[in-house]
C-alpha cells in the first residue's frame, strides 16, 4: 500500500504557512466528525482499509470486506439514484437496471442470494467519500475509470463493465450536424463528474466559446433542458439515452455523432483489499464468460450437469475448486448466472432492444461477436 507523503506537499504550499493555528484546529474538527462514527458503527468497514489481506492456508485469502459482508448478511452497493436503464427504483420501489444487476450478481456470488443487497443511492459528489468511509462495499455508479482517480484517490477499479463516451443531445429542430456547431450555445452539465472537465477541454481545444449551465442533479439538468433553458445537454451517451427516454417527446431530440471522451465505467473498491477486488472483478468476468460460453439463466442449471465444455464446467463449479480460491463457494459463478444472468441477458433487459433505451451493443459486444466489441474475459484456469 502506498503511503502518501504529505509533508513535502505541506512545505511546498505557501498557504500552509499563511494559515494560522485556526486552520489546523478546524481541520481536526472536521477530521473528528468524519472519523468518529466509523469506530462506533462496529461494522468492520474500518478494518477493510487498515488490514492487509493475509495469505493463510494456501490460496484462501482473507478479505476484510468479504468478512464484513458475510457477517452483515448483505452487500452495501453504492448506486445512482435516478438513471433509468442503469440504476433506479421503479414505480413499486424495486431497484432495476444494469448496474443494479451487477450489484445483485456480487450478492449472488458472495452470499448466494441476489436479493441480499442494500442499495445506497449516492450523488456524484457523495460517491467517493461514501466508499472511503465504508458506507458502501463497492461503488457501481457510472463512474469512469481515470488515471487520477486510480492513482490519487485511494481506490481501485475492479472491472470496466460498460464502455461509454461523452456526447451531446440537442432538440431535433436545431438541425445541428456536429458538436462544433454548438459555438455560443448554453450547455447543461452536471457538476462533480468528468463530463464537466471533458466539455471544457472540447471547446477550449477548438477555440470555441460556450456557456456552461452547471447543476447539481440530473433532474435539474433534465428540467432545464426540457424547458429550453439550455440549448444542449451533455453527459455520457448512455445517460443521454436514459434522459431522452424520460423526456415528453423522445423523438424530438437527437444525439450528436461526436463522442468527445472515453468513459470506461468501472466498479470501484477501496484500495488495499485485493481479495475483495478480485471477487468484484471475477463476478463481472463470470457474466461475460457466461455469454461467451452460451450459459444463460434459463439453461445454466441443465448445463452444469450435462455440458462437456471443460471451461464451462470449471466456471460453473462442476470441475475443480475455483470458487474457494476467491474465498467463495465453488458454485459462485453458477449462482451469478442462474440468479442474474449473463452479460448479454442483463444488457438486453436493461439497456438493449427489450428496454426503452434501445442502446446498441457497440463497444460492449463480445470480442468475437459478429460486430466485435471490447468485452474480453480472461479464462478460468
Amino acid at each position: 500500500m502506498s503511503l502518501a507523503p504529505d509533508s513535502p506537499a505541506d512545505r511546498r504550499s505557501p498557504l500552509r504557512r499563511a494559515v494560522p493555528l485556526a486552520a489546523v484546529l478546524l481541520a481536526v474538527a472536521v477530521a473528528g466528525c468524519g472519523d468518529d462514527p466509523a469506530p462506533a458503527t462496529a461494522t468492520p468497514q474500518q478494518p477493510a482499509a487498515q488490514q492487509q489481506p493475509r495469505t493463510s492456508q494456501g490460496a484462501v485469502r482473507e478479505s476484510a470486506t468479504l468478512r464484513a459482508v458475510r457477517s452483515r448478511g448483505r452487500l452495501n452497493c453504492g448506486v445512482n439514484h435516478s438513471l433509468p436503464g442503469f440504476a433506479y427504483p421503479d414505480n413499486r420501489g424495486v431497484w432495476r437496471g444494469f448496474e443494479v444487476d451487477y450489484c445483485r450478481a456480487i450478492a449472488a456470488a458472495v452470499l448466494g442470494d441476489r436479493e441480499a443487497v442494500q442499495f445506497v443511492p449516492v450523488s456524484p459528489t457523495e460517491r467517493f467519500p461514501a466508499l472511503q468511509a465504508g458506507e458502501v462495499d463497492v461503488l457501481i455508479r457510472n463512474t469512469s475509470h481515470t488515471f487520477s482517480r486510480d492513482a490519487d484517490l485511494g481506490f481501485d477499479f475492479a472491472a470496466i463493465y460498460y464502455f461509454d463516451g461523452q456526447g451531446f443531445m440537442v432538440p431535433r429542430s436545431l438541425n445541428l450536424r456536429s458538436a462544433a456547431e454548438l459555438a455560443g450555445a448554453r450547455i447543461c452539465v452536471i457538476t462533480g463528474s468528468t463530463t464537466e472537465l471533458n466539455v471544457a477541454d472540447f471547446f477550449r481545444s477548438r477555440g470555441l466559446a460556450y456557456e456552461p449551465v452547471v447543476v447539481d442533479r440530473v433532474e435539474q439538468a433534465r428540467a432545464s433542458y426540457a424547458r429550453q433553458a439550455c440549448d444542449a445537454i451533455t453527459d455520457d451517451i448512455s445517460g443521454l439515452a436514459s434522459t431522452r427516454s424520460v423526456l415528453d417527446n423522445p423523438q424530438a431530440h437527437v444525439l450528436l455523432p461526436d463522442v468527445i471522451s472515453k468513459e470506461p465505467m468501472a466498479s470501484v473498491v477501496r484500495q488495499g483489499d485485493d481479495a475483495w477486488e478480485d471477487i468484484v472483478r471475477w463476478t463481472f468476468y463470470a457474466m461475460v464468460l457466461g455469454e461467451e460460453l452460451g450459459a444463460t439463466s434459463d439453461n445454466v442449471e441443465q448445463l452444469r450437469g450435462s455440458s462437456r465444455d471443460p471451461e464451462l464446467r470449471r466456471l460453473l463449479g462442476a470441475d475443480g475448486q475455483y470458487g474457494r480460491m476467491l474465498g467463495l463457494s465453488d458454485d459462485w459463478a453458477f449462482q451469478v448466472l442462474r440468479q442474474v444472468g449473463n452479460y448479454g441477458e442483463v444488457f438486453e433487459t436493461n439497456l438493449g432492444a427489450r428496454s426503452p433505451l434501445r442502446l446498441q451493443r457497440g463497444l460492449n459486444a463480445l470480442w468475437r461477436a459478429e460486430q466485435p466489441g471490447l468485452l474480453y474475459a480472461p479464462p478460468i484456469r
Binding site: S2, L3, A4, D6, A9, D10, R12, S13, L15, R16, V19, A22, A23, L25, L26, A27, V28, A29, V30, A31, G32, G34, D35, Q46, A49, Q50, T125, P129, Q132, R149, D152, L153, G154, G184, A185, R186, T191, G192, S193, E196, L197, A200, D201, R204, E211, P212, V213, V214, V215, D216, Q220, A223, R227, Q228, A229, C230, D231, R270, Q271, G272
Partner: protein, 325 residues
C-alpha cells in the same frame, strides 16, 4: 506594568480554578491531537494524498460566472478566489435588498392600514416557517417557467425576460436575438436571480420581525412626546423612533446578516457558482482532499462572519456613545 503574582492568580480565580482550567485545556489539546493523528493515519492507510499542494494545480473545469479572469487552466486557488467573490457578491446584494424588504415589511406589520398589516403578516409567517432549500427550488422552477429566448418577454424596450436570465442594454450595446439566444448587453443569470430572490425573501421576513421588535421596544412615551412636539408621522419615525429602535435592532440584525451569508452556501441547489459549489464540490471531487477543502471553506466563512459581527458591533458602539452624549 504586569500585575503582581498574587494579583494574577486572583484574577484567574485562584489556584484551584487555574488547575481546573489547565486540566481542561490539556484534555482538549490531547483530544485534538488524537483526532488529528487518527485522521492522518486513516488517510494514509487509504493511500490518500494530504496537504495543500493541490491548490497550485490546474482546475480543468469552467465556471459560468466569474468576477475575475478565470479559465480552465487556472489553479484551484483561483477557483477558491472566484467562488469566494461570487459568495461575497450574492451575500452583499442579499444584505442590502433583505434589509430594505425587511424594513418595509416590519413597518407594514405595525401600520394601521389593515391590508398592509395583513399582507406583511402573511408574508412573514409563510416565509419564516418553510425551509429555505424548498423556497430555493420554487424560485429555480419559477424562473424556468419564463419563456425561452425565441418567445422572450419584452418588459421594456431592450429588456428581455427569458428562462436564461434577464437581458438588458449595457455599455452601449443592446441585447439582440442571434444564434442560440441573446447576445450583447448584459444579463442577470437565473441562478443568481433565484438565489438572491430566495435569500432576500427569506431573510427579509426575519428582518421584518427584528424591525417590529425594535420599534415596539421603544417606549410609547417617546412617540407621544414626538407627537406633542408637533412632529408628523414620517418625522416621528425617522427622528425619534427609528434611531432608538436601531440600538435594539443591531445585534439581531447582525445575526440575520450572518445567516444570509451562511445560507448562500445553498447556492448549488440552483447552480450558482459560489464558494461551496465550485471549491467545496467540483474542486473537491477533482482532488479528493475533503478535509483540506472543507477547512479552507470553514475558515472563509468564519472570517466573513467575524468581520460582519465586528462591523455591526462597531456601529452599535458608536450609536451607544451618541446616546450618552
Amino acid at each position: 506594568m504586569a500585575p503582581s503574582r498574587g494579583g494574577l492568580v486572583r484574577r484567574l480565580g485562584g489556584w484551584r480554578a487555574i488547575v481546573w482550567q489547565a486540566g481542561l485545556l490539556l484534555a482538549l489539546a490531547v483530544l485534538a491531537l488524537w483526532l488529528a493523528g487518527n485522521a492522518r493515519a486513516n488517510l494514509q492507510a487509504l493511500g490518500s494524498r494530504t496537504g495543500f499542494g493541490f491548490l497550485g494545480e490546474p482546475a480543468g473545469f469552467d465556471i459560468p460566472q466569474t468576477l475575475v479572469a478565470y479559465s480552465p487552466q487556472s489553479t484551484h486557488a483561483r477557483v477558491f478566489l472566484v467562488g469566494a467573490l461570487n459568495t461575497l457578491l450574492v451575500a452583499g446584494l442579499g444584505v442590502v435588498f433583505a434589509t430594505a424588504l425587511g424594513l418595509l415589511a416590519g413597518l407594514l406589520r405595525l401600520s394601521r392600514n389593515f391590508l398592509g398589516r395583513s399582507l406583511a403578516t402573511v408574508y412573514v409567517e409563510a416565509v419564516r416557517n418553510t425551509p429555505l432549500p424548498i423556497q430555493l427550488l420554487i424560485w429555480f422552477n419559477l424562473l424556468l417557467l419564463a419563456p425561452p429566448p425565441a418567445r422572450a418577454l419584452q418588459l421594456l424596450p431592450g429588456v428581455h425576460l427569458t428562462n436564461r436570465g434577464l437581458f438588458f442594454p449595457w455599455a452601449g450595446t443592446a441585447p439582440r436575438l442571434e444564434g442560440f439566444g441573446f447576445t450583447g448587453g448584459a444579463a442577470l443569470s437565473p441562478a443568481l436571480t433565484a438565489l438572491l430572490a430566495a435569500l432576500v425573501v427569506y431573510t427579509g421576513a426575519f428582518i421584518a420581525e427584528v424591525v417590529r421588535g425594535g420599534i415596539q421596544a421603544v417606549s410609547p412615551g417617546q412617540s407621544e412626546a414626538a407627537r406633542a412636539l408637533g412632529l408628523r408621522e414620517a418625522g416621528r419615525l425617522r427622528l425619534v423612533v427609528l434611531p432608538q429602535a436601531l440600538r435594539v435592532m443591531i445585534p439581531p440584525l447582525a445575526s440575520q446578516y450572518l445567516n444570509l451569508t451562511k445560507n448562500s452556501s445553498l447556492a448549488i441547489v440552483v447552480g450558482y457558482p459560489d464558494l461551496v459549489s465550485v471549491f467545496g464540490n467540483t474542486s473537491l471531487t477533482r482532488t479528493g482532499q475533503a478535509i483540506e477543502s472543507i477547512a479552507l471553506i470553514m475558515l472563509f466563512y468564519l472570517a466573513v462572519s467575524l468581520l460582519i459581527s465586528l462591523a455591526l458591533n462597531g456601529w452599535n458602539a458608536r450609536l451607544a456613545r451618541g446616546d450618552r452624549r
